[in-house]
């Protein structure tokens, strides 16, 4: 398994051609208290960089973008009842959706953990 990161503060963990997507700890810290999360329906086709999910803090709604293209295979239903999972465990139980990659080569442009940490430190 390999975990990649985007400059929009999503993480994507890849195993073969399937992947799990969420937002990073840095992102949840910036958003603050999460009160609502909307995940894409199974079967939704996502294109890299396009809107994939929505996360809402007390203050505002934010889009979660698809780190790569693919088809949604599962949404995290737990977020409907407990959106605060995104705050408490953003890079674990607070995942948003899983997808089947349509073009694994898109992963090449993403950051690894060390590069993402350096990117966040530069902000």
């Amino acid at each position: 398994m390999t975990r990649y990161f985007t400059d929009e503060h999503e993480w994507i963990e890849v195993e073969g051609t399937t992947a799990t997507v969420g937002i990073t700890d840095y992102a949840q810290g910036q958003l603050g208290d999460i009160v609502f999360a909307e995940v894409p329906a199974v079967g939704t086709t996502l294109s890299k960089g396009g809107d994939a999910a929505v996360v809402e803090s007390v203050k505002a709604a934010s889009d979660v973008y698809a780190p790569v293209s693919g088809t949604v295979t599962e949404g995290n239903d737990a977020l409907a009842d407990d959106p605060a999972l995104v705050n408490s465990d953003p890079e674990g139980a607070g995942w948003f959706f899983k997808l089947e990659l349509s073009d694994p080569s898109e992963l090449d442009g993403l950051m690894d953990a060390a590069a993402y940490k350096a990117f966040v430190d530069s902000l």
Binding site: V35, F36, V58, K59, A61
Partner: protein, 375 residues
């Protein structure tokens, strides 16, 4: 993230940063949106006492012979009847009766102390200058900061620092001395809770903020919680829930049109406003309860079936309600309490119901009715 460089600095800017605040641009100033988190800060204010820096707001003293009568041309409240140390909420009206700002007016020994919104304070001052007689002085107190201490334990906490504040009732104000520092303190606020607002010389505000935060009941609270608290309290935010296109009756502020003024008129837009009072406004600002968990925010259209009947002007998650709530303008015929409507959010319909405001009961420290009569 906002760019720090084009924001103006308030006297407590570095104090907020040292307390761990995240700063954002608001009304042109760098201001704290949150410290530990909006939800926790909101709850703390409802249960204890929160200290808010609202130094961006405009503090004015209007003075001169006949100042109350002069201001009454521009506001629909009975300013002439205000006794010293009493305050009221009012609305600055454009020539057509549209709301240019909402404000607080207090009668003081030196004139009318008026607090206006930060985002429009400079245009308010220009408007007042252009529309008040030359004999009326407008003094913009730019050397004063403004703090609000709000919550059920606010008055207990501040009275330990400044004895006697607990003698004020809701919408009363007086001059207090903190050592040698003159403070103008009113029992008022923007959260629905008991509490006070404190006008303090800018050079003393940091020491006062420290003295208040040294009380165990008090924590600093950011603008994020200020917004969720005022929304639950059903209090409008100027520029969102009211603007120059709305009149006071539409804006659910008929209470601010005093009895004598209703009878006599003589204020900007009186024809339009008194007609709306008599016949009912064509649309009205109402509370909206939201079904489910998805927040419905400013700008969302409101529908009755296929017909758009309104627009949300403020909305978000309400921590003390435990659900999303909103405010918005809804057309006559669709705005009575309990009416089922829908908002549209990202292409989906969300069920709403017109709700009574406030969403959380006000807990003001009012005088008994019996004592109001002689006060």
């Amino acid at each position: 993230m906002s760019d720090d460089t084009d924001m103006l600095e308030l006297p407590l800017g570095d104090w907020h940063r040292a307390k761990g605040a995240r700063m954002v641009s608001f009304a042109g100033y760098a201001m704290p949106i949150q410290y530990e988190g909006i939800m926790a800060e909101h709850q703390w204010t409802r249960e204890s006492a929160g200290l808010f820096d609202v130094s961006h707001m405009g503090q004015l003293i209007l003075s001169g012979e006949g100042v109350a009568a002069a201001l009454e041309k521009l506001v629909p409240g009975d300013i002439s009847a205000l006794k010293e140390g009493r305050m009221r909420y009012s609305l600055l009206l454009g020539a057509d009766g549209g709301v240019l700002d909402d404000l607080m007016v207090t009668a003081t020994p030196t004139g009318l102390y008026v607090v206006v919104n930060g985002a429009v304070k400079h245009q308010d001052i220009a408007y007042l200058r252009a529309n008040l007689p030359a004999a009326i002085d407008i003094n913009h107190l730019e050397d004063r900061a403004l703090l609000a201490l709000q919550g059920p334990k606010a008055v207990e906490a501040i009275s330990r620092v400044i004895p006697g504040v607990d003698q004020l009732y809701f919408m009363e104000a007086d001059l207090f001395l903190w050592g040698e520092v003159p403070l103008w303190i009113s029992r008022s606020g923007y959260t629905g809770e008991d509490g006070v607002e404190i006008s303090v010389p800018a050079e003393e505000v940091q020491a006062l903020a420290d003295a208040l935060c040294a009380q165990p009941e008090v924590k600093p609270i950011g603008l994020g919680a200020r917004d969720s608290l005022r929304l639950e309290a059903g209090l409008p935010l100027y520029g969102h829930d009211m603007d120059p296109s709305t009149d006071p009756v539409e804006g659910n502020a008929s209470f601010a049109i005093s009895k004598r003024r209703r009878e006599e008129g003589g204020f900007n837009g009186a024809d339009r406003i008194l007609k709306a009072l008599a016949e009912g406004p064509s649309r009205k600002l109402v509370g909206l309860s939201v079904e489910g968990k998805m927040p419905v925010r400013e700008g969302a259209p409101i529908f009755a079936g296929e017909l758009q009947v309104g627009t949300v002007t403020s909305g978000g998650f309400a921590p003390s309600v435990g659900a999303p709530i909103a405010m918005g303008y809804v057309a006559a015929g669709h705005n009575s309490i309990g009416t089922a409507l829908e908002a549209e959010v990202r292409g989906k319909r969300v069920p709403l119901a017109v709700a009574a405001m406030p969403f959380i009961p006000h807990r003001y420290h009012r005088r008994a009715i019996s004592s109001q009569a002689k006060a």
